[in-house]
C-alpha cells in the first residue's frame, strides 16, 4: 500500500475497476465512451464541460485527463481558466445561496 491516497499512475489503471465487477464496469465504460462522442454537443465542447466538472468535484485524475484533452482539442489557457471560474462560481454560489436559509432561520428566531 502506498502512504498517500492519490497516485498519478493510477489514472492509467482506471479500466481495472472492471476486474471486481466486470458487467457494471463494462457498462460504465461503454456509457462513458458514448457520452463523450460528438452529438448535439461536440466532443470538444464536452471536454470543456468535463474540465469544469472535474474541478467542481475536485478529482485530480479528471483534472489531469481533461486539462490535457481540452488543450489538445484546441482550447486556449484563457478559455480553460474561464471554465474553471464557471465551476468556481457555481460552487461559490451553491455555498452562498444557502446563506438565504441561514438568514431565514436567524430571522425566525431573532427578535
Amino acid at each position: 500500500m502506498s502512504d498517500h491516497y492519490y497516485n498519478a499512475d493510477d489514472l492509467a489503471k482506471f479500466g481495472n475497476i472492471a476486474e471486481y465487477q466486470k458487467e457494471m464496469g463494462d457498462k460504465f465504460f461503454s456509457y462513458y465512451g458514448e457520452v463523450f462522442k460528438d452529438g448535439h454537443l461536440t466532443a470538444k465542447e464536452k471536454s470543456l464541460i468535463a474540465l469544469a466538472v472535474a474541478h467542481a468535484v475536485q478529482c485530480p485524475y479528471c483534472i489531469d485527463a481533461y486539462s490535457s484533452d481540452a488543450y489538445e482539442k484546441g482550447y486556449s489557457e484563457q478559455q480553460m481558466m474561464e471554465a474553471v471560474h464557471v465551476a468556481s462560481a457555481i460552487k461559490g454560489g451553491a455555498v452562498l445561496v444557502h446563506g438565504v436559509q441561514m438568514m431565514n432561520k436567524v430571522k425566525k428566531i431573532s427578535m
Binding site: 460528438d38 466532443a43 470538444k44 488543450y71 489538445e72 482539442k73
Partner: protein, 349 residues
C-alpha cells in the same frame, strides 16, 4: 531568431545520437516497433508502389519552428544543386511516378526552384509545394509566388498549427501567424482554396505541444469556420499530422521532461489499420544531395533505403525500390498512432 541544432553543435543534430535515444531501453521500456508489426502479422513492412517522389530541395528556411524534424532555418546552407535537380528530372522522365512533392526548408528559397518546377511540369507531373506561407511575405521577390503557383497548377500545402495567433507563434515564431494569414489571403485572391475542383490549398495542423492531434475532421470544420469568420479565408482540406520524436521536437520533448510520456502515448495509440496507407509504402524521399530514403523522417535520421544498389538518384532502380523493405525504427510509431499520420494527414480512415 533561434539557431538550428546543427549550428548550436547540439548533440541531437547528429542522427546517430537521436537513434541512440529512440532505441535506448533505459529511457523507456516500450515494445519495439518491429515487435508490434510482428505481433500484428505486418512484418516486414514493404513498399507496394513508387507513385510519389518527395524531394527535399534544401534545409534553408526563413523560419525556425520548434518542432521542425529537418532542423531547418536561415543558418542551414544545404541546398539542392541544379545538377541534382537534373538527376531528379531524369528519374521522373523515365518512370511512371505521377506526383512530385517539393519540400524543404522553404523550397522556394532554392535559387533554382522556379526552373525546377517549370521543368517538372513539362513532364506532366502533379506538383505539390510545401509552402510555409510566410516566405511569400519574406521578401519582395517572393510576393508573386501565388501567381507562379497558379500558372503551374501547383497544389499548395501549408502548415498552420492553429487559427489563433498565440498557439501558432509559440510553435513557429513571433509574427508567423499574422504573415500566414496575409499569405493565405493572397493565395485566395488568385483563386486558391475557393473551389473543390482546382487550385488546391490544403492546410497542415500539427500539435503545438507534447500531445497527439485530435480528430482531423473536427479540426477541419473548426479551422474553416474560424478562418472564414475572422479573416475571410477559405481552403480545401486540413491534414492533421503527428509530430515525430526526432530532431528539434525530440529536443523539446527531452528538455521539457515530456519524452517518456509522449512515446508512451504514441506506443499505446499504435493502430495496425494505419499501416496500409503509410506514405513510405508509395513514396521515395530524396535528400538535397540526391540520396534516397523511405520518408523525410528516415532521411533526417540518415537511414537509407534498403536496396544497397539504389540509394542515390544516379542509381535509381524503380523495380528494386517498388518492393523494397521499409527501414523501421522507434520513431515510426509517430505515423501509426491513432488515426495515423502522413504528409497527407490521417491514414487510417
Amino acid at each position: 531568431m533561434i539557431k538550428s541544432l546543427k549550428v548550436l553543435n547540439n548533440p541531437l543534430s547528429n542522427a546517430d545520437n537521436q537513434l541512440a535515444i529512440l532505441e535506448d531501453k533505459k529511457l523507456h521500456s516500450h515494445a519495439s516497433f518491429k515487435a508490434k508489426l510482428v505481433a500484428s502479422d505486418l512484418y516486414p513492412l514493404r513498399a507496394n508502389a513508387v507513385e510519389i517522389l518527395q524531394i527535399n530541395v534544401g534545409k534553408m528556411c526563413n523560419q525556425v519552428c520548434k518542432h521542425c524534424h529537418v532542423d531547418a532555418g536561415p543558418d542551414r546552407k544545404e541546398i539542392m544543386t541544379m545538377e541534382t535537380m537534373q538527376l531528379c528530372l531524369a528519374v521522373l522522365a523515365h518512370s511512371s511516378i505521377k506526383i512530385v512533392d517539393l519540400t524543404g526548408g522553404a523550397p522556394e528559397m532554392n535559387p533554382n526552384f522556379r526552373w525546377f518546377v517549370t521543368e517538372i511540369k513539362k513532364l506532366n507531373k502533379h506538383i505539390i509545394v510545401r509552402c510555409n506561407l510566410t516566405i511569400i511575405l519574406a521578401n519582395k521577390k517572393y510576393h508573386d509566388l501565388p501567381t507562379f503557383f497558379k500558372q503551374h497548377d501547383i497544389e499548395v500545402v501549408s502548415s498552420l498549427p492553429s487559427f489563433t495567433k498565440d498557439r501558432t507563434d509559440r510553435q513557429r515564431g513571433d509574427g508567423v501567424f499574422e504573415d500566414s494569414i496575409k499569405a493565405l489571403q493572397m493565395l485566395n485572391a488568385v483563386g486558391y482554396g475557393v473551389s473543390e475542383d482546382n487550385l488546391q490549398l490544403n492546410l497542415v495542423y500539427n500539435p503545438a505541444g507534447a500531445f497527439l492531434p485530435p480528430s482531423q475532421q473536427a479540426l477541419e470544420i473548426e479551422f474553416k469556420d474560424e478562418l472564414f469568420k475572422n479573416y475571410g479565408i477559405s481552403f480545401n482540406n486540413l491534414f492533421a499530422i503527428t509530430n515525430m520524436p526526432i530532431s528539434r521536437y525530440l529536443d523539446y520533448l527531452l528538455s521539457t521532461g515530456n519524452y517518456d510520456s509522449y512515446m508512451e502515448k504514441l506506443v499505446n495509440a499504435f493502430n495496425p489499420a494505419a499501416i496500409k496507407n503509410l506514405m513510405c509504402r508509395n513514396t521515395i524521399s530524396v535528400s538535397w544531395d540526391g540520396f534516397l530514403y523511405d520518408c523525410d523522417f528516415n532521411q533526417m535520421l540518415e537511414l537509407p533505403v534498403s536496396p544497397s544498389n539504389s540509394r542515390h538518384l544516379s542509381d535509381f532502380n524503380l523495380n528494386d525500390l517498388t518492393n523494397r523493405e521499409i527501414v523501421i525504427k522507434q520513431h515510426c510509431y509517430g505515423c501509426t498512432a491513432g488515426a495515423g499520420s502522413s504528409c497527407g494527414g490521417e491514414v487510417a480512415n
